[in-house]
């Protein structure tokens, strides 16, 4: 089998022979072929099986609208399903498999579905598989799932990379056929910034498929010359293999560029595809038009295709779809196929033209006023039967039939922003309506101008109009000379004769009968028609079938097609891989990773890390002898309370607050008082939402009269900063206060434990007195360390021990922790991570995000008295609402397990032991930790009337995990409730 269907001419490179396989069979093709053209060249017509009925199918188009020839391209990790053979560029070594058939394309066992077609009509699944109910999950659904779907995934990780990119231009031209090329030339020569995109790998659009002349030379040469000129213009960017997927708000477009799909394997570091965000001040849709079918009995036989595609295969790819070909048409367009194929030496057995007054364009048999009523040949067309104008039937032997029902402008993108279409009687199709996306115009066939001369002219005119809108001075271009034939079509949507099925939507197997059934059952609006029959819902989105379906429904309802309307077009125009949408944000690249100043040191120490938002924080530092994380965490927590530990706390948000009104500003933002905080002191701050719920807590340190450093929790750093700016700019714009984040500028470490002062004395320069008298609990100051380095010291404690936080400029952070470790060696200093940090603060009863979960008020937290009623503060008024201050309401309490081996479940719900465990609970556990100091599991949580229930044993219900246990209600301050250790 050696390319038996090749013709002469075409745009293929016969010097480059490419080997490929389809369903295991080896074939040859040429550079410039698509998989579809190469298969046709080798006489292969059967390319797939349809979705529902598993009908044998062949290719019907030569473009991205293809509904039938969907193949699985490649094997292994790069395998991709549902690839249109019509757009897959042939490369050496290409392998493809047909889909949706078993065991083979020629013999498909599920073809049996076709025998039950009467039961599998539109919407059958709404009427079946319902009884018995139990059968659905165990029986029906698994079977349907196996039978449904087209291709299959490799289930291996995608080895390719996908990029994102950004472009700005004055004019984005979508489509590089005659209209697009003329527009690009016009705009480019006039100095505008132009992006010209086409989904094909060769610019020129239909000019590559037709035998025409422009300015006296072959049209495709005019196209090539135009491209050459455009390439040399620095203000024009040519993007082939690029599909503009969608038109979004404000002139933003998504465009998918296929960088390496046409290569066997992308080169190293080469992105396979790039998803471009194009900001276009103006755009011009020159997307051309798509041909439509005339539905008739068995019009889905392999070998029946669009007439325009048939001649594209002949003229561009030098391939004939059959030794003997016929044409069925209702417009002059079909005759061009007969003329072109005859000129290439193919036997044209006849043109069946439904228009009684039709005449031939060349020397081939013509059957005017006739209709094709049947196509024969299950695995490949063998002939067609027609009803002649004289009423008699005739059969013509042929292996390919080109059908032309007319052309539909490709208007999708004009409707992506709620635009509505307008019916054009002259071409019997829809054209763009009045409201297009901002800045968009249409030209050429996309606007309903079907002759080449009209396409060139409208491209030039619309480009000039676009540049005028931008205020650019322009010089018009002369319009090249080209054919300007009138377009005449007499609509024929389907052939009425014949009881067999007439196919509209090939991909979802929707027939004329299905549309009529939908109408009969009351699903008459175009939106219902679509969903009930699934017409237009497949991967081709009905590009070749929508209008046919509308026409049948219009006929049934007695309305015009215009009155019936269309459904809404949405992006993407053609399917796009999820990997492309993800770009580089796949796997570990999904979000940025933030590293602390001591990160590399922590890695050296063998720390185990945890993600805290975007940050990577040391979770615990296991020693070699430790095999379970509890061993490490218990050891770290014990070490802090016994001697001293060090922990990187850089991740907590730090906001620098300065200005004459800095104190007044903090007084407004915090519920408790800050106006009188002395210089050199820190204070715990409670920040409320305007509705009285606690938003965040932290500390504010006053370094000078007009200078504070405010801390936030790690998770809330962003939102709190945003809130503070909102207060500053929108609520208190007259205040003289400035904010800036300094989270990153300072590396900050907590040094905590009875020996904390001893360790720090070796770090802090001697002129700074660290005695309790000179630097008491909650003091702060700017100091120097390690021989003169500027630093900040805060005596605040999250752990409840004698503790400090010491900050140096981040570049010295790693060096500092080494110094601290060296200084602390004599005291067995222990690095501790987020787990031990958590144990210590739970033991101390400090609230964090678990307790400040957006539902809890100051009163619930036991901090009701902190909310001053003497001053204005965000949230103060509404925090005084009854519901948030109910004496019988929630209160933050501590809970301890009754024995050493029980683990309390975080999130467990609380009930009095006498109460039934159902309905609304009396509270819940927010934070749980194993306390090595108490030898048992402890928790913080909210309990109704908690304060009054000290000592009570309550039930903790955890029904999701089938657990129910008990715990004792205690004070949330398990260790040192008087706070003596803090103040020493």
């Amino acid at each position: 089998m050696n390319q038996t269907h090749r013709l002469s001419g075409g745009q293929i490179d016969r010097d480059r022979v490419l080997n490929f396989t389809f369903d295991g069979q080896a074939y040859k093709g040429h550079a410039g072929d698509t998989l579809a053209s190469a298969l046709l060249a080798n006489g292969v017509r059967l390319m797939g099986r349809s979705f529902k009925y598993h009908r044998p199918r062949g290719v019907i188009s030569s473009g991205s609208e293809e509904p039938n020839a969907l193949v699985e391209l490649r094997t292994g990790a790069r395998q991709e399903p549902n690839t249109r053979a019509t757009v897959a560029e042939l490369y050496d070594g290409l392998t493809a498999q047909s889909q949706n058939r078993w065991p083979s394309l020629a013999f498909d066992a599920l073809g049996v579905n076709d025998l039950f077609s009467n039961f599998l009509t539109a919407g059958f699944y709404y009427k079946t598989f319902m009884w018995p109910r139990a059968f659905w999950e165990k029986f029906y659904e698994p079977i349907i799932r196996r039978a449904a779907g087209l291709g299959s995934l490799s289930m291996e990780a995608d080895p390719d990379a996908y990029d994102k990119g950004f472009q700005h231009c004055d004019l984005l031209i979508i489509g590089a056929g005659p209209a697009g090329l003329a527009a690009a030339l016009t705009a480019g020569r006039n100095g505008a910034r132009v992006v010209l995109a086409d989904e094909d790998f060769t610019f020129g659009g239909r000019l590559n498929a037709e035998v025409e002349e422009i300015d006296g030379k072959p049209a495709r040469l005019w196209a090539a010359d135009t491209v050459a000129e455009l390439k040399a213009l620095p203000n024009v960017r040519l993007m082939r293999r690029t599909t503009v997927l969608g038109a979004f708000d404000h002139g933003i477009y998504a465009a998918l560029e296929r960088n390496a799909d046409h290569l066997a394997v992308p080169e190293a570091d080469m992105p396979r595809q790039t998803l471009w965000r194009i900001y276009a001040r103006q755009s011009l849709l020159c997307a051309g038009a798509t041909e439509r079918m005339i539905a008739f009995q068995n019009n889905d036989r392999p070998g029946v295709m669009m007439a325009g595609a048939m001649r594209a295969y002949a003229n561009r790819w030098a391939v004939t779809a059959g030794r003997q070909v016929a044409v069925f048409t209702n417009t002059d367009s079909g005759h061009r196929t007969a003329r072109d194929l005859a000129a290439l030496g193919v036997e044209v057995v006849g043109v069946i033209d439904s228009r009684p007054s039709a005449t031939a364009l060349g020397d081939y048999p013509i059957f005017a006023g006739a209709q094709v009523i049947d196509a024969k040949g299950k695995l490949g067309l063998t002939g067609v039967t027609l009803r002649r104008s004289d009423g008699r039937t005739q059969t013509l032997a042929c292996q390919a039939l080109g059908v032309s029902g007319g052309w539909n402008p490709n208007v999708s993108l004009t409707c992506h922003q709620r635009g509505r279409l307008v019916w054009n009687d002259q071409i019997a199709s829809f054209v763009p309506g009045g409201t297009l996306p901002q800045g968009m115009r249409s030209a050429g066939a996309a606007a309903g101008h079907f002759s080449t001369a009209q396409a060139l002219q409208s491209g030039i005119e619309m480009a000039l109009a676009a540049l005028d809108s931008l205020g650019l001075k322009t010089t018009p271009l002369p319009c090249p000379r080209a054919e300007d034939g009138a377009y005449e079509v007499t609509p024929l949507w389907y052939v009425p004769e014949g009881k067999g099925r007439k196919w509209l939507d090939f991909q979802n197997d929707v027939t004329v009968k299905d549309v009529k059934l939908a109408h009969q059952e009351g699903f008459r609006s175009v939106e219902h028609l679509k969903r009930y029959t699934t017409l237009g819902m497949a991967t081709d989105q009905g590009k070749t079938s929508n209008l046919g379906g509308l026409a049948v429904m219009a006929e049934a309802t007695g309305q015009s097609i215009a009155e019936t309307g269309t459904t809404i077009f949405r992006p993407p125009y053609t399917p796009v891989a999820l990997g492309t949408l993800a770009g580089r944000a796949a796997g570990k690249g999904f979000k940025p990773t933030r590293l602390t100043p001591s990160h590399h040191w922590a890695v050296e120490q063998g720390a185990v890390f945890v993600e805290a938002g975007l940050w990577l924080r040391a979770q615990y530092f296991p020693r070699k002898s430790e095999t379970h994380w509890r061993q490490s965490v218990d050891r770290e927590a014990l070490a802090v309370r016994k001697s001293v530990g060090v922990c990187d706390v850089t991740t907590l948000g730090k906001v620098d607050v300065q200005g004459a009104d800095a104190a007044a500003f903090l007084n407004l933002v915090y519920a408790n008082g800050f106006a009188k905080l002395p210089v050199g002191k820190c204070r715990y701050g409670l920040m409320l939402r305007e509705d009285g719920i606690v938003m965040d807590d932290g500390t504010a340190a006053r370094l000078a009269e007009d200078h504070f450093v405010v801390t936030t929790t790690t998770a809330n750093a962003g939102p709190v900063y945003r809130h503070m700016e909102f207060v500053r700019q929108c609520l208190a714009p007259e205040m003289d206060v400035q904010l800036i984040s300094t989270t990153e500028a300072w590396a900050q470490f907590a040094v905590a434990g009875p020996n904390a002062r001893a360790v720090l004395t070796r770090i802090v320069d001697p002129e700074h007195d660290l005695s309790n008298a000179a630097f008491p609990f909650m003091a702060c100051g700017e100091i120097t360390v390690c021989g003169g380095l500027r630093a900040r010291l805060f005596r605040i404690s999250f752990s409840g021990e004698l503790a400090y936080e010491i900050a140096v400029p981040s570049r010295y952070g790693e060096a500092l922790i080494r110094e601290i470790m060296a200084a602390g060696e004599a005291f067995d200093i222990t690095p501790y991570g987020t787990e031990a940090l958590g144990v210590l603060r739970v033991e101390k009863g400090h609230a964090t995000a678990n307790e400040l979960n957006g539902q809890t008020s100051a009163d619930h937290l036991g901090m009701g008295r902190m909310v001053s009623d003497k001053k204005e503060a965000i949230g103060a008024v509404l925090s005084r609402r009854e519901g948030l201050n109910d004496p019988a309401g929630l209160r933050l309490m501590g809970f301890e397990a009754l024995d050493g081996s029980t683990t309390l479940p975080a999130g467990g719900h609380l009930f009095a032991t006498s109460a039934p465990q159902q309905g609304v609970s009396e509270g819940w556990l927010t934070s749980v930790a194993y306390s090595p100091h108490l030898g048992k599991s402890i928790a913080l949580g909210f309990l109704e009337r908690g304060q009054a229930r000290l000592g009570e044993v309550v039930t903790i219900a955890n029904p999701l995990q089938g657990q129910s246990l008990t715990a004792r209600v205690v004070s949330p301050h398990f260790i040192d409730p008087e706070g003596e250790r803090l103040r020493g």
Binding site: H168, T593, G659
Partner: protein
Amino acid sequence: MADPVTQPRLYAATALGGLTPAVDKVGAWTLREVSDRAIASVTARNGQDAPVAQAMETLAHGPVPIGTLRSGARHQVFSTAQSQWFVMGDYAQDEFLAQNLKSDLGAAASVTEQSDGWTVFHLSGAPLAPVLERLVMADLARLTTGTALRLLMEHMNVFVLCSATDAAVEIMVARSYAQTLHHALLTAMKSADTLLQGARTPA
């Protein structure tokens, strides 16, 4: 004016965690980590826009309106927000940049030390557009010499400062993101390079 009389015994690490700044070359482009930069933020207090803007103009040898980067004798100044400037200098000479600016400006401005808040990457090589169009969502035609932008890049907040149109930019990101941004920049450079090579031998 403070002088470093004593030499602190702490060593400085670069944002990428090394002792010396990283340098990477891909195709025509060079990516250099800049670790010897002193940076301070200067925000004018209420009613002090004019004198503070004047002070910035003096440092930069010319006005620094919003969106501008300008270089003076010893300092570079840029602005991406109203009433706010970033002043940059050489760390060895200007380690105490923030303190010095504050003592010069007094109560007219709020000043913070930002030297270690940011990591700076210098990207050079012409043309730069093939790399930048994979990273920068702003209009590159407007990213000319002396332009300062603050925007989103690869989910990170960055400054982009152009010192030579289509030939050299500095990209600054918060220090903790250094590794992520470095990786993103290198990836864009490699993509751009392979595609340029591919364009030289068309398929």
